[in-house]
């Protein structure tokens, strides 16, 4: 991958990588670390992409895997309370409320919701990215939506 190609990919997809990582890991610092790892892999190994969608899918898939590795990596006694992590700044207070509600959702709902509703992946694609059956994705989307609605009403 040339520097120009890498810069272009970073410019276009770094936000997506970061958002996927944030949905997976919740903590912004961890999400940044995951995003760095993914982009480093792109720089080291990213070659032969057959079009824009292949690159995007490779990055999304790689981010999911890196986050999965980070979540199960053997860091011990790591204790950074989530409430001490800074959250993104939003133009409207209700967006901050929605963000906190999304981050309070159980992890298994956050990523399917994000990939489906924000990135626009189809249910089957979300399943392929996350290693889930389409029926499981459907269930998690429905329950995630329901939980989010309940949390916002409370």
């Amino acid at each position: 991958m040339t520097e120009q190609e890498f810069d272009r990919a970073a410019g276009r997809y770094l936000d997506m990588v970061y958002r996927i990582a944030l949905n997976a890991l919740r903590r912004p610092a961890d999400a940044e670390d995951a995003a760095q790892t993914v982009m480093l892999r792109l720089w080291q190994f990213g070659e032969g992409f057959q079009g824009e969608e292949h690159l995007r899918h490779w990055l999304a898939r790689g981010t999911v895997n890196v986050c999965r590795d980070m979540a199960r990596s053997p860091w011990h006694r790591r204790m950074v309370p989530l409430e001490h992590c800074p959250e993104p700044s939003f133009s409207a207070p209700e967006q901050g409320t929605l963000f906190r509600a999304v981050m309070d959702l159980p992890g298994k709902y956050r990523l399917p919701l994000y990939l489906y509703y924000y990135e626009g992946y189809a249910v089957a694609e979300v399943g392929e990215l996350l290693g889930l059956k389409p029926s499981t994705v459907q269930t998690r989307l429905a329950r995630g939506r329901e939980k989010l609605k309940t949390m916002l009403e409370e």
């Binding site: 760095q36 590795d69 309370p81 967006q95 999304v102 924000y118 392929e128």
Partner: protein, 343 residues
Amino acid sequence: MEENYRAMFDQVRASDRLREEVSQMKMHKQMPRRRFPKTGLIAAVILVLLAGSAIASVGMPGTLRGWFAREWEESTGAPMTEEQLALVDDLTQPVGVSDTQNSVTVTVDSITVGNSTMWLLLKISGDYPAEETLRYHFRGIDMTLEPDPDQVETPGGYGFDFPYAAVAEDGVLTMLVRFTIDLAGQTSLLDAPRQTVLVLEDLVCNDLEKRGDEDVVLSEGGWTLTFPVEPGEAGEIRSLGEIRVPAMDLESRKIKTIALCDVEISATDITYVRSAEAQEWEPLRCALVLADGTAVEQSSGSSRFRDTACTEWSSVYYWQVPVDLNQVTALRFGDTEIPLSDG
């Protein structure tokens, strides 16, 4: 709600700092340093270590000496000197302990031990493909030391990373595991004989290039490797007392000068303490400057309170490779160099 959801995430963007680090990534072969999460926490530890992500690297040397020599050359641009190699030899102990599960034998070939870090060279029996995109690792890893070297009564931490894992030059699947522990500068892995128990779970592999690169289990099982770590000379320790260095508030990106006290530099790490009030101010990236002009930078690090009253915030950063301090002329934080006498 879907529209609000999308509008909300439109505003969640990678930070300028992350963009800058990714942009600079092209100049580095390895992961830039990780950051301390920005916190106002009290009596909580922040463990900052490289993620457990082994980067496959085909054709790496099959010995710790060979790996350090190559790592040195790649990170400094200069060949490792005889003095540096002699230091690596001093810190390296042969082990040769094995455990076999499901016909796969894992051997701890040798270890290189410093004050608060240990590199373990693992050899794994069997035939494995050597493609660069294959990423070998163990699904689980943990290690205990007896007696426990951590004598500080505040939350601390330890962790692992895999600087490389691949089929080495000798054709053997080889993994380099780096264990780091935050001892707050109070004790050393080398100050007493210790029994070490390394536990590994499930040998797995994934292919970075393939779509849907799920881990493939190569061999299920739990390997337990017990071996001694002999006490030894950690080499020279440079004590600097108090120094003043540039530090950044990671939230505001402001930089100011702060005081670090009890600064101690060893062949494998640097430890220092700052006041709890200065906890938010992270010293700029640290490096050792050698007489020939090369620099060895910090890699990962960790911080914790050194005292139960939570007044002394102690940090340790590990050098990328062991360094013979006799060759060091200065300590550098950002662009600020602090000359070391008798270097």
